[in-house]
Every structure is written in C-alpha cells, then in structure tokens.
C-alpha cells in the first residue's frame, strides 16, 4: 500500500488549493469566454495569433526575452564558474549570498534604483535602459541553475581529465561546460519565459519603447477591460512555464530547481 500524506499538510495544501491553484482554473475558464459570454469558445486564443496587433507584441516580447536570455547567460557563466569551482570555503558562501540578495528586492524598487544610475550616465528611458533593467532583474534566475549544475560536477571527473592529459582549457571547455548544460538549459528556459511576463521594467525604464506580453496583460486587465484575450495570454504563458519546469525537474532527476 502506498503511504498516504498526513493531515499536517492540510492547512498549507488547502490554502494553496483555494487561493493559488483554483484561480488558475478560473483563469482558464475566463480565457474560453467571449465578452458576450455565449458558451465556450477558442476565439480569444485565435485572436492572439490572428490579430496582427496582438501577435506583433508577442513577437517583440520574444525578441526582448531572447536578448535578455543571451545577455544574462554570458554574464552569469563566468561568475558561476568562479563561485562554484574556484572560490575559497569562506569566500564562496558570502559571494553567493551577495549575488542572490538583490533577487529578493522587489522589481519595482530595483527598476527605480536603476533609473538613478541611468540618468547619471546621461541616458534616459528607452529600449537600452529597459534592456539593462531586464538583465538586472533576471540575472539571478539564470545564475542559480548554472551554479547548481557546476557544483554537482564530481571532482573525480576533472581529476580524470587532468590525469589523461587535458589542459586547464580543455577541462573548462570539454568537461565542465558540457556537464553544465542542464543548468544552462534550465536557466535559459526560465529567463526566456519569465521575462516575457515582465511589465514593471518596461513601464518604468522603457519609455515609449518596449512592450511585452506582460505589459499587454497589464493593460488588458487594468485599463482595457478585455479579460478574455488577457486570460488567454496568461494561460499560454502559464502552460509553457509549467511544461518547461516539469521537464527540467524530470531531467534533474526529480530534484526541483531549488
């Protein structure tokens, strides 16, 4: 007989069921409703892909997300390498904590802080300022899975390569980097999908440039009143993230990203 979960889980599980999981069912239902509300329809989903005004936002948001992914990957890799495999036993935890701490500061506060430095550099709101903001916001999300992958590489793999005549360069490029690939894939998938939902950074730093799917959802719900299309967009992003997170968790051997 399979062991059953105990009742101690009930308070947390019931609260999450009612106020985290149930809302997503309501959201999915809403995405199948038209303003008139006559039965179930796929119209909202078709609108997202057919209406050029919406689809253009999806494409430009994908471009912003792609650039954010590449930039955070390039910045995170060397730092993850240093902290995971080269830092001292006292230095490592402090550097890790310093790098992850800004992640806990709300995006609104970080975007506003970034505005001060952008003005100091003589720049103003616009595409470039927004991209700096996106990279600032998503760097830790890229860093963490890469760091975790690098930390898991057994010392024996590196030692074996050295004994067999690999140079330090070979070790980095042909042992460590390939073994970090799961972390790179996980970080890239998370940053790509999460940055599409970002609306605070474009609103505070983008000026008139830069409009993401997140910005679109924000306007459809808080100023437009077009709930159906907004719900369809939110469902598509939620589904993509759920699938990605599930696949990544399975690849990591059932171990979740944190």
């Amino acid at each position: 007989m399979k062991p059953r979960p105990s009742a101690v889980l009930a308070p947390m599980a019931l609260f999450l069921a009612a106020f985290f999981y149930a809302p997503f069912i309501v959201l999915a239902y809403q995405s199948l409703q038209t303003p008139g509300g006559r039965g179930v329809t796929l119209e909202n989903y078709l609108t997202v892909f057919r209406d050029p005004a919406y689809f253009k936002v999806v494409l430009s948001s994908l471009a912003i997300a792609g650039e954010t992914t590449l930039a955070t990957l390039a910045l995170a890799l060397p730092a993850a390498y240093y902290i995971a495999r080269m830092s001292g036993p006292r230095e490592g935890p402090i550097l890790l904590a310093l790098l992850l701490t800004p992640f806990w500061v709300d995006v609104l506060l970080r975007s506003f802080a970034l505005k001060s430095i952008i003005y100091t550099l003589g720049m103003r709101e616009g595409y470039a300022a927004m991209m700096v903001g996106m990279v600032y916001e998503y760097l830790p999300i890229m860093f963490l899975p890469i760091y975790a992958s690098m930390l898991r590489i057994p010392e024996s793999a590196v030692a074996a390569a050295r004994v067999l005549g690999a140079t330090p360069r070979d070790v980095t490029l042909r042992v460590v980097l390939p073994l970090t690939l799961p972390g790179i894939v996980a970080g890239s998938a998370l940053v790509l999908l999460m940055s599409m939902t970002e609306f605070v950074v474009p609103a505070l730093l983008g000026g008139t440039k830069g409009f993401t799917v997140g910005s679109l959802i924000y306007y459809l719900f808080l100023s437009g009143g077009l709930w159906g299309v907004g719900a369809a967009l939110a469902v598509l992003l939620t589904a993509a993230l759920t699938v990605a997170a599930f696949l990544l968790a399975r690849r990591a051997g059932g171990e979740l990203a944190w």
């Binding site: 062991p3 059953r4 979960p5 101690v8 889980l9 009930a10 308070p11 947390m12 599980a13 609260f15 999450l16 106020f19 149930a22 809302p23 997503f24 309501v26 730092a79 240093y82 902290i83 830092s87 935890p93 402090i94 550097l95 890790l96 904590a97 310093l98 790098l99 992850l100 701490t101 800004p102 992640f103 806990w104 500061v105 995006v107 609104l108 506060l109 506003f112 505005k115 001060s116 430095i117 003005y119 100091t120 600032y136 760097l139 830790p140 963490l144 330090p168 999908l193 939902t197 505070l204 997140g214 959802i217 719900f221 719900a231 939110a234 939620t238 993230l241 968790a249 990203a257 944190w258």
Partner: protein, 266 residues
C-alpha cells in the same frame, strides 16, 4: 597561467557583484540630493526624508503595508509550520511539489488569476484580498525557510516522546524551541516579501487601497510638479524599503549558503 585565469575570474565576479549594488547605492545617494532630478547633484540635504515624515499619504501607506505584512507573515508561517514539522518522505515530497509553482510562476499571471476569481465570487477587493494574495506565495517561502530547523525539531520531539514526554510537552518544549531559527527566518522573510510586494498588490487591492510600493509606482509614473513626486523624494522612500529587503535577504541567503553548500537562497 592557471593562477592568472583564476584571478581574472575573481576580478570579474567581484565587479559583477559591485555592479548589482551600484544602482542601489546611487539611488540612496540621490535621496540626499538637494536638486529635484536624478543626474544633477545639488548638494547634501535631508529634506526629502523630512518631507516623507510629514507626508500623510506615506503614513497611511505605511500603516496599510505593516498591517498586510504582519497578517500575511503570521498566517503563512502558521499554515506552513505543521507541514514543515513532518519527517515523513511522502509528506515532504508532496509539500515541495505544492510549494514549487508559487515560487516559479510569474507574479502577474498569478495575480490576474486571483483577481478574476475574487471578482467572479463578488469578493470585495481591499485589505483582505491583498493579505490572501500575499499569503498564497508567502506560504511557499515560509515552508522553505522552516523545513531544515523544523525537521530536526520534529525528530528531537519524537526522541522526547520515547523518553516519556507527553505530546503537548514534546511539541512546546522541544519541537518549537528547536525550530525557532526556522520560525524567525520564515516570519522575517514573509514580512519582507509582503511589505515590499508590488505586482500581487496592484491586482488584488481594488481602488483606494494604497501600500508603500503602490505609492512609489503611482508617483514614479507621474514625475512632476509636486515635491512628493520628485525623483529624490521617491528615492528616499525606495531607499528605506530596499535597505530593509537587503538586510533580511542577505541574512537569509548567507544562512542558507553556509548551512548547505550547494544551495543558494532563492
């Protein structure tokens, strides 16, 4: 050659970390700037903080933020504590499965979904809906902060039971004191997350309810004539919130990083 590469990597890492904190330091500096705009230094002043101290809207927002954060911290920690005290594998697996999505799901989708549900149910948006919204993600963070200390507390309580302690005695005199570092961490973390939360609040607050981050958002988007909406005045308010976030988050992430090499905070 190897040593040179290591030094370069270290230099890069330190520079990257410095760059992460630079905006915060610069913003804090401008909160003492006598000019009204970022990028222009008009000399040192504390007048923006004095302005803040006499700002009735900021005081109202502070009261609301404290009320929401205290309620959400207490409720989420209380909901997560029993689960975190379980030592059974089946419980831990189910709990981590349940608490993973609230951490990974982008806030805006979660917030929009909750807003629709409240409006469909005819539930009035305001302080209660905001507390519920915050607790829905906070409970996951509370669970993560509670688990390590919680499970050792539970194991020692079982030992106390075999040595003759009653169930209530084992819980109150062993499990709770041993779990205390986890309880404190959970309360501090959830209070901070709720106190500085913007997105979830924006969608679940309804008209008229203002917290400190909402006030910052309203003012940052209409920079202009009133002294309250000038950039250094907003910077003063933001600096206070950022300082609090960093103090709590750094303590927590360092504790996590030291306890379990290989695992960061987040």
């Amino acid at each position: 050659m190897v040593e040179a590469g290591r030094r370069l990597a270290r230099l890069y890492t330190y520079a990257l970390i410095a760059a992460l904190y630079a905006p915060i330091v610069v913003m804090a500096a401008y909160s003492f700037d006598d000019s009204k705009f970022f990028g222009v230094w008009g000399g040192f002043t504390a007048r923006w903080y004095r302005l803040l101290a006499h700002d009735p809207q900021a005081w109202e927002a502070l009261r609301n933020s404290v009320a929401v954060a205290v309620a959400s911290a207490l409720i989420s920690t209380a909901l997560a504590l029993p689960a975190a005290l379980s030592t059974r594998k089946v419980d831990r697996d189910l709990a981590s499965l349940l608490t993973y999505p609230p951490v990974i799901m982008p806030e805006i989708t979660e917030a929009v979904a909750l807003m629709i549900m409240f409006l469909k149910l005819g539930f009035p948006l305001g302080v209660v809906s905001v507390v519920i919204g915050h607790t829905a993600f906070n409970v996951a963070y509370a669970y993560v902060a509670l688990t390590p200390a919680g499970s050792s507390g539970a194991r020692l309580a079982m030992a106390a039971r075999t040595l003759g302690a009653g169930p209530l005695e084992a819980f109150l005199r062993v499990a709770v004191p041993v779990s205390m570092p986890g309880i404190v961490a959970a309360l501090a973390l959830t209070f901070m997350m709720s106190f500085t939360d913007f997105t979830k609040t924006l969608f679940t607050k309804g008209p008229g309810f203002v917290t400190l981050p909402i006030l910052i958002w309203n003012r940052a988007r209409r920079p202009g004539l009133s002294p309250y909406t000038s950039q250094p005045a907003i910077a003063a308010l933001s600096t206070v919130l950022v300082a609090m976030s960093i103090a709590v988050a750094f303590t927590f992430t360092l504790y996590q990083a030291r306890r379990q090499p290989g695992r960061g905070g987040a």
